[in-house]
């Protein structure tokens, strides 16, 4: 079916928008990781820096914002996430495999029941799986007394492994079911007929056949476990995993360190995808070669000629790469030109913020003298809350409302709010400076 030109153009545009929607947020988030400002944003651009990947910063007001390298809770979270993921993989892959194999053996009435039960966990909200695991094991732990069972029942990592295994096994199960649908069961019979025992049939015929499914379900199980939040947040109890650390970070304060972390994960994903694609292509080539050999024996030669000029082909991806490179160089030049890179810039920005902060402090003190004491304490409280409880304080949210609205508030409500605003977004001058970025060009 070939659609006409108008439809094609529309479709192209649609796809563009769709992928913009998919990737836009991620790209912007990645860029904010390099902005030295405390709030993840592209504008106002403070300085280009790697601080959020390294040491983070200790703000002039004593606020400590950790970077990736210095963030201990994050590292611990990653380690427990890895432990959990390993546990989930070792449990859910065999479970999924066993269930899928047995599904092929039971009669049709039992099969429907069995299948429905097996896919139920996917449809259950993850929250509920987490809760049910915790309440059950808490009960078991209480009944179990002081011994090992009670330890186990209150071990967040153990509970998380169980909770996640509950639904991740279903993912594995579905992967195995799909693979087994294409399995020729006469192979098993042939092996049996040739004298293999049932275990030998399983190990020498079925397992090798299922190997690709074992691999992919292990990867899926690992990723699903690593990413999971909804179940984990309940079942992890007092421990922390990567996702709960991220969640508490997002909850406590929006910091570009999270962007930096996201960028690292994105890069790992891209590298993974890249290698996956490479290996897939080389497999494809191998298959093509084999097919060609077969074709030579079956097809007359005049059909096989046209493959020669391959030598001259330049892969299209190179152009994309070059374009990206040029863009990167141009951006870099702009950064240098505007003196928005490096320690010097960061220092300057910090200094200006510090003096700003001092000014504001002074202003605050002046205000405090004129305004009632309750107001002052409120102002202070909101400051200390600023990073700690962005979600808690409803008013604070309005502060993110924007630059202009804040200015309005400043005139009405006194300085406190706009001060906070400035703390977060940095020097207003810097914003202008960035605005000039385009004009100079």
């Amino acid at each position: 079916m070939k659609p006409n030109l108008a439809i094609q153009a529309f479709l192209g545009l649609y796809i563009l928008i769709f992928f913009l929607y998919l990737f836009g947020p991620l790209v912007i988030m990645s860029v904010t990781a390099f902005n030295s400002a405390e709030f993840p944003a592209i504008t106002p651009w403070e300085c280009f820096s790697f601080r959020w990947f390294n040491e983070g910063k200790i703000a002039y007001d004593g606020q400590r914002l950790a970077g990736l390298v210095t963030d201990r809770p994050l590292h611990e979270g990653i380690i427990s996430s890895l432990i959990i993921a390993a546990g989930v993989v070792t449990l859910s892959v065999p479970i999924g495999m066993a269930a899928a194999i047995v599904l092929t053996q039971v009669n049709s009435r039992l099969r429907t029941l069995f299948y429905s039960m097996s896919i139920m966990p996917v449809l259950f909200p993850g929250v509920i799986i987490g809760i049910s695991t915790v309440v059950l094991w808490d009960r078991i732990a209480t009944l179990g007394g002081d011994g090992f069972i009670s330890e186990l029942g209150r071990n967040g990592i153990f509970l998380t492994i169980l909770g996640q295994t509950c639904f991740i096994s279903t993912y594995c199960f579905l992967i195995f079911v799909a693979r087994l649908q294409r399995f020729d069961t006469t192979q098993e019979e042939a092996a049996l007929d040739l004298g293999a025992s049932q275990s030998q049939v399983f190990l020498k015929i079925l397992v090798p056949y299922l190997m690709p499914a074992i691999g992919s379900s292990a990867v899926i199980a690992f990723l699903a476990s690593f990413e999971n939040y909804n179940t984990t947040v309940f079942s992890i109890l007092s421990e922390q995993t990567l996702t709960t650390v991220i969640a508490s970070k997002v909850r406590l304060g929006i910091s570009p360190a999270i962007s930096a972390l996201a960028l690292v994960i994105i890069c790992l994903t891209l590298i993974g995808a890249f290698f996956y694609e490479i290996s897939r292509r080389s497999n494809q080539r191998k298959k093509d070669r084999e097919n060609k050999v077969k074709m030579f024996s079956e097809v007359s030669e005049n059909r096989l000629v046209e493959e020669r000029p391959k030598f001259f082909r330049i892969p299209k991806s190179i152009f994309v790469f070059l374009l990206l490179l040029i863009l990167a160089v141009l951006t870099w030049q702009q950064l240098i030109k505007n003196n928005m890179y490096g320690a010097e810039c960061v220092e300057k920005a910090e200094a200006s913020k510090k003096s700003n902060f001092a000014d504001q402090l002074k202003l605050l003190q002046q205000n405090a003298e004129s305004v009632e004491t309750t107001d002052e304490s409120e102002g202070n409280a909101s400051r200390s809350n600023e990073y700690n409880d962005i979600f808690g304080d409803q008013n604070l949210f309005k502060d993110f409302g924007g630059f202009d609205s804040d200015k309005n508030e400043e005139s009405e409500n006194g300085a406190t709010r706009s001060n906070e605003y400035n703390d977060i977004f940095g020097d207003p001058n810097l914003f202008k400076n960035f605005g000039g970025f385009d004009n100079k060009e």
Binding site: P125, L242, V250, K398
Partner: protein, 303 residues
């Protein structure tokens, strides 16, 4: 059972049985049943469990409907409101997702060349290897008061003051749509891919317009895939926690956040369980009703 053992041999058969019983009984059935049981019991400290006070009661469900005994309202408007809000939003998100994904899925399945299709599929998958929390975080940056969208709109002169997308819940809806888009695309894609292209050509040949072809041929064929995608997206959206945690405005709650509160902040596990059961029962019933309405079976839905 005997033939099962004979078919698989004793070692393997035992392994199968242990694995399946462990999973189905210990991981799926018993926890849910225990949670159901707990939801009908008063909130007691662990030591009093099993004691004389541990009797069956409907308090938690009553609380959901009528609010606490001290409240003056006839019904628990807050919780019921949050619940209805969650369900309705989940439905909306599902419908938007379906409309949004259908053209893409159709394009990848039927119009694109195999190579393009493969690349697009890969491109679809990549964002979803990144944590849901982080994706929501990206949306949050985008929609922040000083974020990219506000800046662009201001620059263009479309608005004069920045819009608070988060307080308006626009960020939340966008984030929820974004979060599970893949789970809509893939079932659709699988269903559409199995459609014989000849059918499309035949329809065209018989003079059917593009829209009519879709309405009469493609959509009926993809019904199971559509149902599957919608079920997944609806269930996951209704049960979402990560995205609302990052994106909901402080005065909007998602129902799972309520559950979370009862559970972790107020330490009332029984009530948390009861609310979980409500969410589970209502959303499963809703899905089953929809499946009855559109005449698809559960086996077709999850494949």
């Amino acid at each position: 059972m005997n033939s099962f053992y004979r078919k698989n041999g004793p070692v393997i058969a035992t392994f199968f049985l242990v694995a399946i019983i462990f999973w189905l009984i210990f991981l799926i059935v018993i926890p849910q049943l225990y949670m159901l049981d707990l939801s009908f019991r008063p909130n007691l400290p662990p030591l009093l469990r099993g004691g004389p006070d541990d009797v069956y009661t409907l308090t938690h469900y009553k609380h959901f409907l009528y609010g606490s005994e001290t409240s003056k309202d006839a019904y628990n408007y807050v919780d019921i409101g949050v619940f209805l809000d969650t369900i309705i939003t989940a439905v909306l998100v599902t419908v938007i997702n379906l409309c949004f994904c259908y053209p893409i899925a159709f394009y990848i399945a039927k119009l694109a060349t195999p190579n393009t299709a493969r690349l697009l599929v890969l491109a679809l998958v990549i964002p979803f290897w990144i944590n849901e929390l982080l994706r929501s975080f990206a949306i949050r940056i985008l929609f922040a008061g000083e974020g990219v969208i506000n800046n662009i709109l201001l620059e263009l002169g479309l608005i004069t003051t920045a819009v608070n997308f988060i307080a308006l819940d626009i960020a939340l809806y966008t984030g929820l749509t974004y979060a599970y888009i893949l789970l809509m695309i893939f079932p659709l894609y699988n269903a559409l891919e199995s459609l014989d292209t000849n059918q499309l050509e035949a329809a065209k040949d018989l003079g059917s317009s593009t829209l009519r072809t879709h309405w009469r041929i493609v959509i009926p064929h993809a019904k199971a895939g559509i149902a599957s995608g919608c079920t997944m997206v609806f269930m996951l959206t209704a049960g979402a926690l990560a995205t609302p945690v990052v994106l909901s405005s402080p005065n909007t709650y998602w129902f799972t956040q309520l559950i979370y509160q009862w559970f972790n902040m107020n330490d009332n596990w029984s009530r948390g369980s009861a609310y979980s059961i409500i969410l589970l029962v209502v959303s499963v019933t809703f899905v089953l009703l929809m499946m009855r309405l559109f005449k698809v079976t559960i086996g077709e839905v999850v494949r």
